[in-house]
Symmetry: C2
Subunit: 357 residues, 2 copies
Amino acid sequence: MPEVRLEEVQRFMEDCLRGAGAPVAEAKAHAELLLHADVTGHYSHGLNRLELYINDIKSGATDPNAKPVILKESAATAWVDGGNALGATVGNFCMDVAIRKAKESGVGWVSAKGCNHFGMAGWWALKAERQGLIGMAFTNSSPIMVPTRSKERACGTNPVAMFAPAADGDSLGVDMASTTAAMGKIEVQIHKGESIPHGWALGPDGKTTSDAQLAFNTGHLLPLGGFEQTSGYKGFCLSAMIEVFCSGLSGANATHNIRGWALDSKEGPPNLGQCFAVINPECFAPGFAERVADCLRTYRNLQPVDPSLPVLAPGDKERINAEKTKSRGTIVYAQRQVDVSNAVAATVGVRPLQVVA
Amino acid sequence: MPEVRLEEVQRFMEDCLRGAGAPVAEAKAHAELLLHADVTGHYSHGLNRLELYINDIKSGATDPNAKPVILKESAATAWVDGGNALGATVGNFCMDVAIRKAKESGVGWVSAKGCNHFGMAGWWALKAERQGLIGMAFTNSSPIMVPTRSKERACGTNPVAMFAPAADGDSLGVDMASTTAAMGKIEVQIHKGESIPHGWALGPDGKTTSDAQLAFNTGHLLPLGGFEQTSGYKGFCLSAMIEVFCSGLSGANATHNIRGWALDSKEGPPNLGQCFAVINPECFAPGFAERVADCLRTYRNLQPVDPSLPVLAPGDKERINAEKTKSRGTIVYAQRQVDVSNAVAATVGVRPLQVVA
């Protein structure tokens, strides 16, 4: 499979976004967001999503020149209008506000309307963690989750992300959709020609299916927990809680009113709601980073059921992937991914991805 | 099965706590907390837990006369020492501080060490909701969850609760353990002589079991999501995130250092960590309560798979239970529950529960 150097992936995505009309700084920031997903092994949210962002700029759903504005604020809060700017533009703006407020008042809680897809939620939480703070990020999304007992979709994959700094440059990181599996994982099973476990998705008859293609075509994901008897309503509750933070506070579209999921939607701006929160551990008991490190150490040293599968602390999988990717200096993509990306690039006059010989 | 009037349950629990040495106001507050659990149908956290609290007062693990104190504060935060007071004493103190700060600064985020069991997490979130605010509550707990891939326990049932006010006196309420099922649900299956679904708990061999008694004796609960292939690591991540808020911020014991779960522990104060957060929706977009009501309406009106099982919005089950209980005016307990409670009462010189004739 083709291998591409990290700098080249960044150059390519930045050029494509600029080619579509984004200012240099915003194109750079958005490309960094997507590159982070590929570096940490979440390929669904990296180069794979470039097409969506370019299409949304072309259709006018995303305004790459828009500047988010604060509509209302208090010591610890801000209500923001994202103005349908690029995901990274809104994410950086809101997280900077939340970080400033957390440094001043202990907490910063920012909710924004008029948002577009902001990539991996974890990237935004990480931005606060890098400054020694607890960062959180939430977003709503297109309706794709079937609430417990329902035949119909009404909720989103609405992720929650939280990063907390730990001693010696370590961190505890959570970044999870409130569905059992993301759509991207079903796509992976299709590409591998494998079935999906029961508890991931429903077929068109409202019953569980292990057929990955049928699950993909139906697009009815189950909440985290799966069915009612294994507490699937908890994943639904989590999604609803995130809805409160995202559309409830900001006045954005609720998930059930958001446009359907498509790479080339003609339905205009999704008007997603997003929420960014920061807590300053210095306002609490001394020794926070050491206590988080103690948890990480404890989790990593637990005796595994299968000695070949060590217990991973939250965030370890992404950290291990990132270390491997960075030491190799390249990302390996499916040929189809490269072809699709080059086709998108051609429409905005950008030269193709240069693959390592 | 014996039926007891609500006022009599409150009288009985209040008298027992007073008999064990709690001041009138604290006994009343703690009994209200337990009564709420029975009224909403969460019997594991009501009268059923009275024995634990009485035992902890007797052993000195709980100091019913202690007063929580603020150790450090900023505009939006407070670090509290609960002083091993009763759960309701610490919960009311911290939630009052968080509510005041949310009214002044938009958010109140309070983390406390030196805590005892605080009953249903949802009760604390509800306290803020009743004032038109978003309330949240988190606690860590005894180690009983087996992290993904691990043979050993290290995490707790660490619940997250959130209540948000909706128009016309309605609310959206979440109150969920980060395990698939709480221990109380396994006890219920034992009492019914039924098995448990796979994905709830492991047996002593580290493999899934459907034997309720074996699961209870082993005490190795699986995180929400169950096994790794159905994203059990997300429940583990949720528990770890709550650990950060509870022991990370406050300096309380981390779950892996908390005494084992027992009704009559001799291991001294558990030194749990708890976190209480409040967000003021008035600092954000106007119309918050209407938007939450729209979500509730949408969820409730979804077409169900089985017409006899309507889709419930988060919090509906508890609301329906509470309405039934209040209109009946009584709570129905198992005979064994009444007997155990009366035996506890006798040790503190309190007259037995008066059962409805």
